[in-house]
């Protein structure tokens, strides 16, 4: 671990002050005001999605390599005939999706989906020799909590509670002018991804009312209760924690007044596009679509959303579990893309996936796979340069150059590059990218070009 850097970052996570920005040589907001609308939507697959079964080479040699390590007897084999094929325009090889990706396959072929192959947390470009020499290794590889953090904060040298979504929000918040609506909205609770140095995410529940109970009504008792509750929040206080508690509740109530009518009111343009039965991700993305529909009312030019789906930690019984989960992802993300089309903002909304880590290409006993590293991810939207594969697909050979053990792929592309590409599309200037992706200058390519 690089100690000087570690201490630098510790200062940031601990104090979260403006002063910490001096680390990047920047002392003031740099984003220009914007006239257009853009939104980024992060779909986080908690537990570590097995990308090796999400995207499989469909050419004869490629599939043979896959089948050699993951034969039918492993319990996690996807048959060649089951693959939903697509031919990335960026190369000659044919690939196939997991059979659950029924709706994203045609979207890929129509150029709305790009594949980012073998991406993962890195401090700097890394060779297998570097890994074996323990040079530049991200901390706590293969650990859920640490790798979730590193995906969310694009920082693999030391624990930081500031996420790259939050830093991106810090960077572009001036574009939203005086809008009361925060830049980031999480429909999936407090997450590191959305915590900035200056900005804090709005968290909205995935279902039900976002607002206070028991305050609507005109009878004397309800009126007295409502008036009293608000009076309690307005009482001046000199205790730090009491004041913070009151402010948090007051802010939440004020924002709920703006947001709740949007997320709980049926929207005839987008609602019917989602099938939310047994699909929590669709429920969350439906709320995102309702919010985007009202972007004009909210007065925002840039929005970042965080949604999630869990259960991908498939050490055993992977075949059924992953099929179920990927079916939900496929339906929810495709529905969401269609909703952006219906709203006329398909070219202004980009959805992207993240997950704890990839999983071992070598099968684990019990029909599963174990924690690994590099993984394949999808970027969806009208602005995406799709039907293409970015990064470099790993050689599906155990103990090959891409494998650091049991089929754990050494990433060819970093989370920093992934984040920086999306940040560039969002309007962050190249020179300012380190504010969002701290290690980006260690990589030659700062914009992967997928959007």
């Amino acid at each position: 671990m690089n100690h000087s850097r570690r201490h630098l970052l510790q200062g940031i996570s601990a104090s979260a002050t403006l002063a910490s920005l001096s680390r990047f040589g920047i002392s003031e907001a740099f984003a220009q005001s914007a006239t257009d609308y853009k939104a980024l939507v992060c779909v986080f697959m908690f537990g570590g999605n097995d990308g090796n079964n999400l995207i499989i080479p469909a050419d004869t040699a490629g599939y043979a390599a896959y089948n050699a390590v993951r034969p039918v007897s492993s319990g996690i084999n996807i048959g060649q005939s089951e693959l939903l094929q697509f031919q990335p325009r960026s190369g000659t090889r044919v690939f196939g999706y997991h059979p659950s990706m029924k709706r994203l396959q045609p979207l890929t072929q129509s150029g709305k989906v790009a594949v980012l192959a073998n991406v993962g947390p890195l401090n700097a470009p890394m060779s297998k020799a570097d890994f074996q020499a323990n040079k530049n290794r991200p901390y706590q590889l293969f650990s859920h909590s640490d790798q979730q953090q590193q995906w969310q904060n694009a920082d693999s040298e030391e624990i930081s509670r500031i996420g790259w979504g939050g830093r991106l929000a810090d960077a572009i918040s001036p574009m939203n002018g005086a809008a009361q609506m925060p830049v980031i909205t999480s429909i999936a609770g407090s997450v590191t991804f959305g915590q900035g140095n200056q900005t804090t995410m709005l968290t909205v529940p995935s279902s039900g009312t976002f607002g206070l109970s028991g305050i609507t009504g005109t009878d004397a008792v309800t009126t007295a209760r409502r008036d009293a509750l608000f009076a309690l929040l307005d009482e001046g206080r000199d205790h730090t924690l009491v004041a913070e508690t009151a402010l948090g509740l007051k802010t939440a109530h004020a924002l709920s007044g703006i947001v709740n009518p949007i997320v709980t009111t049926a929207n005839t343009t987008v609602d019917a596009l989602f099938d939310t039965n047994n699909n929590g991700l669709a429920t969350q993305l439906q709320r995102v679509a309702r919010l985007i529909a009202k972007r004009g009312d909210l007065g925002v030019k840039r929005q970042i959303f965080f949604v999630s789906i869990g259960g991908f930690d498939t050490h055993a019984n992977q075949a059924n579990t992953q099929t179920n989960l990927l079916s939900q992802v496929d339906a929810a993300v495709a529905s969401f893309y269609e909703s952006t089309l219906a709203l006329g903002v398909a070219n202004q909304v980009t959805t992207f996936t993240m997950s704890d880590f990839g999983r071992t290409f070598k099968p684990a006993a019990g029909g599963g796979s174990d924690h690994a590293w590099g993984n394949h991810h999808l970027v969806v939207g009208g602005a995406v340069n799709g039907n293409a594969l970015y990064g470099s697909f790993p050689s599906l050979v155990l103990n090959g150059n891409d494998d650091v053990g049991e089929g754990r792929w050494l990433p060819s592309t970093s989370v920093d590059q992934y984040a920086a590409t999306l940040a560039s599309w969002f309007g962050v200037a190249s020179a300012d990218l380190p504010r969002v992706a701290p290690n980006i200058n260690a990589f030659a390519t700062k914009n992967l070009g997928f959007v």
Binding site: M1, H3, H7, A14, S15, A16, T17, N134, Q140, F142, S143, H144, S145, R161, G189, S190, T200, M201, L202, T203, V204, P205, F210, G211, L212, S213, G214, A220, V221, A224, R225, D227, A228, L229, A231, L232, L233, E235, R237, D238, H239, T240, L241, V242, A243, E244, T245, A246, G248, L249, T251, A252, H253, L255, S256, D313, A316, N317, N399, G405
Partner: protein, 721 residues
């Protein structure tokens, strides 16, 4: 009154203040039974000059209350005292006025009073201010003196008038030691313990209520009297000696759920009707957690075990089968007041932790297979369970090199060597199954040695040699000893317990005092958690008069928020309702999102930098959910859950409130004690009273619900202090 004219700093006051520190301390001979105080000392503040003034004379209160236009106001702080020699141990406090500096000085020391009387040109003798008790010499206390635990220790600070923004020279006195210490950073001299003041029954009941916030899952209406009748220290000792509540144990189940193990709602309800829920989720231990936290007497043990479960985190995210989590949580209860080394050993070897952090079946290096030992547990053991990332002084501050850079507590080599030393442990053998070299998943009980998978090479952990000729378990023990004796452990563990029980941003001196007890319980034992917990709760920064430091205390975490309300409502419950109510409030019991817990101990507020761990999960969604959960609980009737065998539902017994509900002032007095520990502000009281009065006096339940909902929702009650 001669207190209202500005003046410059006078050397005389400083000189007297210095002399006072050198004067011999009078030993007090306080009677065991103290008289009830009959005087109130009120603190006034003159904002334009930053001056503080204490008086117990109602005639002077009237004068100063009439000078509000000049900037005089009450700070809200009051203390109890005697107007005369109420009992033989009470002594007069002399009051002097220094016209040059325009400040008052108070002393209980006869020699100090005599000295000032000998300086009539500098000091005007204003007679006896009130009566109080002299401090006793006590070398073990921070100031070298102490007061009886039933008294308020009043500390003196001095602003010499030469510090920017502090205004002219002035003394300020503090009954809150935490607040007193914070004045050092403002440039005030901390002049030590000035006198001991009696406490009113209201003050004692407020301290008892605060103790209940710190040491239990909330105060039941009768608990406050129990604590005051027993005495705080005796009550703590009673709690430390109660036997642990028991989770209902469950038998091992296979890792993969059999297809026959499903949930069926078809009657009749049998113990296996909800096979999947009861075995493959943590529904039952969650339910029992609330049932026992709300109903059972061993409150302190359960509260500390709950804190420990957020220190030695295992989570249903990975350890999702009830039988294992029950066994692990019971172990934390059983060991909560034992020795930290024993606890560390049991945590390390428990099958639930073995699974959660991958120590189970972690094998020695195998070049042929390309296997290296998993470092997950070795790293978290040091980073989260014992040492932290940086070397600590005993007061919890970082040790730094000459350039000011914090020093790492351990190296990557320590992690790797420790990981090697910890190889060769497999899951406990499943009852009724043969023992295997690599046992299948079993999260109940303790892991077993498999020497063939243990790395016996000599290693060095934290500078301690782990010899190759020791047995596997001896090598593990040697490594845990190397951690246990590390100087970080005492402040690291002490600070965590203080943060969870008392205050989120404890003073360095508080950490230091508790850490010293961790090092030595007084009988030469290191790591005695019973002594450590007692030290946390009996410390001067936990007990005594109301706490006024501006960041004292902590936000009640979602679980505590709800159990506190339940106990205030005199609830009897089977726990079903409460497990459901917290599951959606960012604190799903035993399902922390990761080993980093629901919230980290080092989370700080971005604006003030104050450490405030619970605020890491306080967001727009949970802020509303907290209040809505209070509303749902207060205004609901909770029926037994038909899917739970033996369900009894939840009953509230509000009779101690409904019986006085017609008198809204009496009702608010009860709320102030049970939910605010006496810290309901006048404005909050007026606000809630108005709403209670809006409910017809004949609707006793309606009034009580209004009072409970608003009191539990009030920001002053959501923060425990």
């Amino acid at each position: 009154m001669r207190c209202c004219v500005s003046s410059l700093y006078s050397r005389a006051v400083a000189r007297v203040a210095r002399i006072a520190l050198l004067l011999p301390v009078v030993l007090s001979a306080q009677a065991l039974a103290q008289a009830s105080p009959d005087a109130t000392i009120v603190e006034f503040y003159l904002a334009p000059q930053n001056k503080y003034f204490l008086t117990s004379k109602p005639s002077e209160w009237a004068v100063l209350d009439g000078l509000s236009a000049n900037g005089w106001r009450r700070t809200g702080l009051t203390y109890a005292a005697y107007s005369g020699e109420a009992d033989p141990a009470a002594k007069p406090v002399c009051r002097f006025f220094h016209p040059g500096v325009v400040t008052h000085f108070y002393s209980i020391d006869p020699a100090e009073c005599a000295l000032l009387r000998s300086l009539p040109r500098d000091f005007v003798d204003e007679g006896v201010a009130w009566y109080a008790y002299p401090p006793a010499v006590n070398a073990s206390e921070p100031s070298g003196k102490s007061c009886a635990s039933s008294n308020t220790a009043l500390f003196r600070t001095f602003n010499n008038g030469a510090i920017a923004n502090n205004g002219p020279a002035n003394h300020r006195y503090f009954g809150d030691y935490t607040f007193y210490q914070t004045y050092s950073a403002k440039g005030y001299a901390l002049e030590g313990l000035a006198m001991c003041l009696p406490q009113t029954s209201v003050e004692k009941r407020a301290d008892a209520a605060r103790l209940l916030f710190q040491a239990t899952f909330g105060a039941r209406p009768d608990d406050i009297a129990t604590v005051t009748n027993t005495g705080t220290t005796a009550w703590i000792d009673q709690q430390l000696n109660l036997p642990p509540s028991q989770y209902t144990p469950r038998d091992w189940v296979p890792n993969t759920r059999p297809d026959t193990c499903v949930n069926t709602s078809t009657p009749p309800l049998t113990p296996t009707s909800y096979c999947q829920r009861d075995n493959y989720t943590l529904y039952l231990p969650q339910k029992e957690f609330f049932q026992q936290a709300i109903n059972n007497p061993d409150q302190l043990r359960q509260r500390v075990a709950w804190a420990l479960s957020q220190f030695f985190v295992t989570s249903g995210v990975d350890v999702g089968q009830a039988y294992g989590m029950i066994d692990y949580q019971q172990m934390l209860r059983d060991e909560a007041f034992g020795n930290f080394k024993t606890l560390l050993t049991k945590v390390t070897l428990h099958g639930a932790m073995g699974r959660f952090l991958d120590m189970a079946n972690n094998q020695k290096p195998d070049a042929a297979r390309g296997i290296e030992p998993n470092e997950n547990y070795a790293r978290e053991l040091m980073q989260l369970f014992s040492l932290g990332l940086y070397q600590l002084n005993n007061d919890g501050s970082y040790k730094r090199d000459t350039k000011g850079v914090a020093l790492d507590a351990y190296t990557q080599e320590d992690v790797e060597d420790l990981a090697h030393v910890m190889t060769g442990w497999t899951y406990p053998t499943v009852p009724g199954q043969p023992s295997r070299t690599v046992n299948p998943n079993n999260n109940k009980g303790y892991m077993e040695e498999r020497a063939q998978y243990h790395e016996f090479a000599e290693k060095t952990v934290l500078g301690k040699r782990i010899a190759s000729n020791l047995s596997q378990s001896q090598r593990l023990n040697a490594a845990l000893d190397a951690i246990f004796v590390h100087p970080n452990v005492a402040p690291f563990v002490s600070k965590f317990l203080i943060q969870h029980l008392v205050t989120g941003d404890p003073s360095p001196s508080y950490i230091d005092r508790v850490a010293k007890v961790f090092q030595n319980n007084g009988g030469g034992i290191r790591g005695d958690l019973k002594a450590v917990v007692r030290a946390v709760l009996t410390d001067i920064e936990a007990r005594g008069a109301a706490k006024w430091a501006p960041s004292y205390g902590h936000l009640s975490e979602p679980v505590l928020k709800l159990t506190r309300l339940a106990r205030a409502m005199n609830t009897t419950t089977d726990g079903v309702y409460f497990r459901g109510a917290t599951a959606s409030a960012a604190q799903n019991v035993f399902y922390a999102p990761s080993v980093f817990n629901y919230y980290p101990p080092d989370y700080s507020l971005s604006k003030s930098g104050v450490l405030a761990p619970e605020f890491a999960i306080y967001n727009t969604s949970t802020a509303l959910a907290r209040v809505n959960t209070i509303y749902a609980t207060v205004y609901s009737n909770i029926q037994p859950d038909a899917t739970v065998l033996g369900a009894t539902g939840t009953q509230f017994n509000l009779s101690s409130y409904t019986s006085i509900a017609a008198d809204s002032n009496a009702l608010l007095d009860r709320m102030n004690e049970v939910l605010f520990a006496g810290r309901m502000t006048a404005a909050t009281r007026a606000t809630i009273k108005k709403a209670v009065d809006a409910v017809a006096a004949t609707d006793a339940v309606g009034r009580v619900r209004m009072a409970l909902f608003l009191s539990a929702s009030a920001p002053d009650s959501q923060v425990l202090r």
